[in-house]
């Protein structure tokens, strides 16, 4: 039981996929323009990550070593296509705003990385907890970045059509640079630098 909780906590803080392992930076940089996108992306990644970890850990004893990577990729690609089609069918507006980044989950290093490094070597319950931890860790990082970018870039925070707050002065003169791709690099690098400098996360 203690091991399971450790697996869960591992992904959220100690080896947070985005902030520590620096995996999955492509979607983190690209879709973190609004909190809505961050939540949508997190849900999609969480589903794919949990399902792929379950399947990979279930078949781990039967998978021949030599074809394990192609097998993982086929499994992940299938799951991503299922998510993509379901989103287009049932959540068309979210699917439109996430665009190409849903199909690109296939090459998200977090998922293949966890399949290879953890799920293929551990029991299913541990693999599920690991997937949850990593998924939440990814969600946490992308939400923080989206929060900063959306607040500074538009001056007001709107989540699922509900206005949470408005920054006086900033909403009339927002700083769109934070919404632009360049802003993503600025925010993530400053965030990483701050976290490391303050000792919240330790490098290496």
């Amino acid at each position: 039981m203690k091991g399971l909780i450790e697996n869960l906590r591992n992904g959220i803080i100690k080896s947070n996929p985005v902030l520590i392992l620096l995996l999955g930076l492509c979607p983190t940089l690209a879709v973190s323009t609004s909190i809505d996108n961050a939540f949508g992306m997190t849900a999609a990644v969480l589903f794919v990550l949990i399902s792929s970890n379950i399947i990979v850990s279930l078949i781990r004893n039967y998978t021949p070593q030599r074809v394990r990577i192609p097998v993982f990729i086929v499994i992940i690609a299938t799951l991503v296509t299922i998510v993509d089609l379901s989103m287009q069918a049932f959540l068309p507006s979210l699917s439109k705003s996430l665009g190409i980044f849903i199909p690109l989950i296939v090459v998200n290093c977090i998922i293949l990385g966890r399949a290879e490094a953890f799920a293929s070597k551990n029991k299913t319950p541990n693999a599920i907890m690991d997937a949850f931890g990593m998924g939440i860790g990814f969600g946490l990082a992308i939400t923080i970045i989206s929060f900063i970018r959306q607040t500074l870039g538009t001056g007001n925070l709107v989540v699922f059509g509900i206005e949470i707050f408005k920054v006086p002065g900033l909403s009339e003169n927002p700083m769109p640079i934070f919404i632009l791709p360049m802003g993503a690099f600025l925010v993530i690098s400053l965030l990483l630098a701050t976290l490391r400098y303050s000792g919240v996360i330790k490098s290496g």
Partner: protein, 195 residues
């Protein structure tokens, strides 16, 4: 020796083939379930946009040859609409351009309205092409006035988003001109056949 080779070479192939087969089954199942919903979602999106533009429409039909929507109210044609794609700053901008129904009789072409269906412009800048303050400038203007202010037209560009604004304006002008020509041709052919 042969036995070891067999195990080493064949089993991975069989295993991978097996996984792929299972994937195909799952994908086939997902596709057959979602196909209808995806089609519906697309039609709904088009219908919602047309409804926004022609608030009093009650039906529409789609001509696949001309790629043209004809809008009806009480079985009378009240306007035409078609999809145009502009290449904006961040990628394609999909628009629905609606025309008043008079261009078949008159030389004059009047834009009914335009509406942005999808785009990937910069949030806060080019994204403002979806705002009514931009889109509404097109309502009821003559095709010859579709140009940015600085080029002698009647459309104000969005400040900070000249590329997005002029992409929309240029595309509306170009596609409307082409479309009207092909529609006029199409209708002339049809009416000649009628005689």
């Amino acid at each position: 020796m042969t036995k070891i080779n067999l195990k080493m070479e064949i089993i991975p192939v069989i295993f991978l083939t097996f996984i792929v087969c299972i994937s195909v089954i799952f994908l086939y199942a997902t596709n057959s379930v979602t196909e209808e919903y995806i089609e519906n979602a697309k039609n709904e999106a088009v219908k919602a946009t047309l409804n926004k533009q022609f608030t009093d429409m009650d039906d529409y039909s789609y001509d696949e040859n001309l790629e043209l929507y004809t809008i009806f109210l009480d079985n009378e044609v009240v306007g035409y609409a078609f999809v145009a794609v502009a290449s904006g700053y961040g990628g394609p901008i999909e628009l629905i351009v609606a025309l008043e129904n008079n261009f078949l009789k008159d030389d004059e072409i009047i834009i009914h309205s335009i509406s942005v269906v999808s785009h990937s412009e910069t949030p806060g800048l080019g994204e403002r092409i979806v705002e009514s303050s931009f889109e509404d400038q097109f309502i009821g203007i003559d095709i010859n006035d579709v140009a940015l202010n600085k080029d002698g037209g009647k459309i104000d560009a969005i400040s900070g988003a000249t590329i997005s604004s002029s992409a929309v304006v240029d595309t509306v002008f170009k596609t409307v001109t082409e479309k009207v020509d092909s529609i006029r041709e199409g209708f002339n052919l049809n009416s000649e056949e009628d005689f």
